[in-house]
Symmetry: D2
Subunit: 345 residues, 4 copies
């Protein structure tokens, strides 16, 4: 099989670093270009020394002009690991040039430009392209996404919430009203940002809620869950920062429509029983981020509380893999016709 | 003022260590005895090397026979830092001998022996003494607790939940139905227990829920909140372990009875405005465990979500201080007539 | 190519877990048996939940009787991840049955039974087999090791010290007298041992020296460096525990025989320039464990201090990979004729 | 006793924060002013929320003009927690105005302006004042330091090295040649600096050497040890960063002039046996930063290695307390005639 040439745009951050690792190690792809405005000209292994030996010593970050990238006939697939608002410009140029684009930013995750501007504080940068982008959680999204022009890859918190909840809402097994979500994220979720809040001495031995009550990812969670439930779903979502590098642990409380967890496990088994990256744990066993970091897996389980009539769902994933770059590569595999797990085990 | 002689029974664990520190440094107390079955005969500073210089090098752990302790005419006040089920035997002997007893175990926290046996898996060990014990959160419990024969000191999670919620339930500002509590605890909350689960390599870079859906502390939380609300309150409570030594961050979601947070802040101001160990943070500022560990303070704030009609309350405390030993000393101060903050700032 | 069947004996610990991962993911091996006395009968994925999806759910730990294992005609290669003193019995039975054995314990690392009993406090358990075992650091040991009956895989600290130092001693570039080594290890170096010292709350926010002045690994370091120098080398070695899961950072100070680092870098280039798992960093750039954990690489660099005439060498490796299981698989690859990096990138 | 009014200049960092805590809690001082250019106008408790309740809510950072501070007749004592190069200007103005000044920067630690410019890369900013400043380790410096116009408080690494070594060099118990020092520091040693290197995700699960071979603190260590030895002492000093907030663990290897550690322990006992902040641990017991963080104590012990003839000395301290602000307050206590431990236990 002829390898596919891949470019990673805006690869300076933690998600970008994981993309570099995955694409460089993927048996069917060539890592052809890695761009970063701020790092252009620097060897990638100087910035990401883990990759010494994996990448040539002279493989450098390049500039990331959108038109120049669009004209590169030697690259077929682009991952965009850019901030929201910036990604759209690249997506437009690259899609116009017929490239396959997987965007890890928030720019194409919401179908409504109004919701986008409400949550991201600016007008949508490319409304015309929006309808041609597919939001894809590979285990959930209907198969015709593969005809889309570009892919909006899901956010880290949304993946941890939507994956376990969507089949239950679809099957009407939990009440679509009154769902409460609390999530704990490792610090890499904030990116490689130079802010006092992310210094080692500020985050070690610290746990706190933030983004109360309207974190940006809420918009994406609600849209997807509303689609699953076929009615508007409003969520109470509270994210927290805890002192670890990576990993998201999420706890969802929803009113059950029946006693016990049998129907829930059946729905999960139907939806995910054959999927390689979903771990359905038995009721009573709560997932641990330590068991999924470094993997593309999401684990979850459910318990029923007869005192409250609630079902308590807990999930765990690696925010940089199943929550970002791993899932993006999983989508690429399916989009290009490779086996789903290629380069991800 | 003649100092009060204090004994700490079962002081081998992390709460015991904090009690040793606080009582040894307290201007009005003498640390007269520190007991531990397993450590009897060992100098305290060998087990707790932080206290070299603070304690005499030859101050040793002694055995902890309940009768022998009850007969010690040189000790007036005892803290029990023993496991539940064990504490009661000591409490009975010491109270019978006229000693003042502050129990940090769960044995006297619940008024119902049925609830005790449901949650702790054994018959209540001292039902007759139960009615003479006062459960005390000093900022909440009515002042006549000072006439009790002994004190049941609150649990760590319960303090973090009850302190912010009780005034709101009492004033009818939040719905007593459907309250959802998620809490994250540092690993010291599990005590100094030799179990694989508490090894450094298992807990570092790990976040997970546990005790789903019926953690033992739930019984205590529900009893106190029911008292505050004057009606039964059923809570959905999910605790989590996160990689830090100490600290609890708690997030409470409750249905508001009015829009906005003004009434809530008024109720808090009335209840706690003059109390030295309660930090009422402005709405929009979430408390951080890093800002309260090492102190006896609990911080909290509230935000109103007009989309859901919920109020989101977040609190932070040091599980070993305001959640255990610090609060116990605070109670002792009030019981013995010392200023509340003595030895705690 | 027909895959080689591999058994891992005593796989309950952290090194064992890495072996399971590497052998299960290796393209030319089958993971045929995983044994553990204490875990026999339990599914491997219950004990090592990271491997859900990688291993069949019903793949269980088996008992580890040495004779029974020796009689298994379906297994060709055995890794022993057993405590010293215990490994020898298995090695004897398995070698006698013609199996290829890679021992990760200390039992066959020292050529002298006297040194073994001095450092390990017991008579050598299998002196007859000792002469048939080869101690192998693949980048250093002369190629005829491949004819040995069994392999003694190096310890974690020794790999971090011997790899950078051996070529320099061999070439006479540093004084063989007066070498000072300080090393910092992550907590997994102590294994999955239930001792108070390894609890999260004891190790977090803690740094300390231990094993002063005669850690067991010293015997192995000195033997190998004496071989390299062709004269006795006595080392001052001080290991330290620091709060991280994995990684070893080692700092070596030796008297230089010439000014500058050019000769040192030449020697390193000659010895390791073509080796995939050795990272020779430029002088002035110190290696960081964070850049090698999860890899089988060892990174090092050197600086010359004209004020003291010393060369300061700093190295970093993953104690569980290049320092244990990764290097064992690297050795297996070479022993069985696979490319050195197979299953390790 | 009339309390002494104290100003802290440049209090925005971690050492400044500790000074605020210690001075605000000190029974004989008033915290009168806390200055910071960048934070002027902000309430201190907004920046340092640990101090809510300890400081008035409206106690704000003020600007830090050196002349204006010198003219404040209501302040008697100033701590300077400023960068080197900046502190000198303040020291000059304040000393000229007759204020007592304790400088935590490096500006007055070295007696030689040549060494200063060699290590700090700029001319000494106040050579005239240099001779009037005393460098004080209170357990070591001869008593007449109390007549100095100002105090240079020692650096964190230097305190951990000089305190155990000085009496041994003075008594000729270790060779003054060939001393090797390795030290591990928590991340707060770098200050509250916004650099990628100090982000949580960069420092967690990472250990590495830095500042090889000529860290700035080396100049100070060598000057003090040369004084103690009455001859030039050249040290090989390698500092390391390890993932913890605070604490320094230091390991010193020196050639012993006699066998065993008896003479060493005698010298330590003579020098420090009566000093409250020095913990002399028995040989064989290595100090642990976890046992000294939060205290003003330095712990150390020694072991003799008959194989090498070396003595191995290991020490532990809190870099922000005994290594910085705690020791500064200890010095202030002695300077002002308060008991040495006031406000420090």
């Amino acid at each position: 099989m002829k390898p596919v040439n891949v470019g990673i745009v805006g690869a300076a951050g933690y998600s970008g670093e994981e993309l570099v690792r995955l694409i460089a190690g993927h048996p069917h792809t060539n890592l052809t270009a890695v761009t970063s405005r701020s790092l252009a000209g620097q060897p990638v292994v100087d910035v990401m020394p883990r990759f010494r030996g994996l990448l040539p010593a002279d493989f450098t970050f390049t500039t990331s002009d959108s038109q120049a990238l669009a004209e590169r006939s030697d690259i077929d697939v682009f991952f965009l690991a850019l901030p929201h608002g910036v990604a759209a410009e690249y997506a437009e140029a690259l899609v116009a040039a017929g490239k396959k684009v997987l965007d890890l930013s928030a720019d194409f995750r919401l179908s409504s430009t109004e919701t986008y501007s409400e949550y991201y504080g600016q007008p949508h940068p490319a409304p015309d392209l929006l309808s041609q982008a597919a939001y894809v959680i590979p285990e959930i999204t209907a198969a015709d996404w593969q005809n889309a022009k570009m892919i909006a890859c899901p956010g880290c918190y949304p993946t941890s919430v939507i994956t376990p909840l969507a089949p239950l809402l679809k099957a009407g097994l939990v009440d679509s009203n009154g769902i409460i979500v609390n999530a704990m994220s490792g610090v890499s979720g904030a990116g490689k940002k130079l802010a006092e809040d992310y210094l080692y001495c500020e985050r070690n031995e610290s746990a706190k809620a933030y983004g109360v009550p309207k974190h940006r990812h809420l918009s994406e969670i609600e849209e997807q869950l509303s689609n699953a439930a076929s009615k508007p779903v409003i969520i109470q979502f509270t994210p927290h920062l805890v002192p670890m590098k990576r990993g998201i642990a999420t706890t969802i409380v929803a009113k059950a429509k029946q006693t016990g967890v049998d129907a829930i496990y059946s729905a999960w088994q139907d939806a995910y029983g054959q999927r390689p990256f979903v771990g359905i744990l038995p009721s009573g066993k709560t997932p641990d981020t330590a068991h999924v970091t470094g993997t593309n897996r999401i684990d979850f389980s459910a318990a029923y509380d007869q005192r409250t009539g609630n079902v308590i769902i807990t999930s765990a994933e690696d925010n940089l893999l199943k929550g970002a770059s791993g899932q993006a590569v999983q989508i690429m595999n399916l989009w290009l016709g490779f086996p789903e797990t290629t380069g991800l085990l």
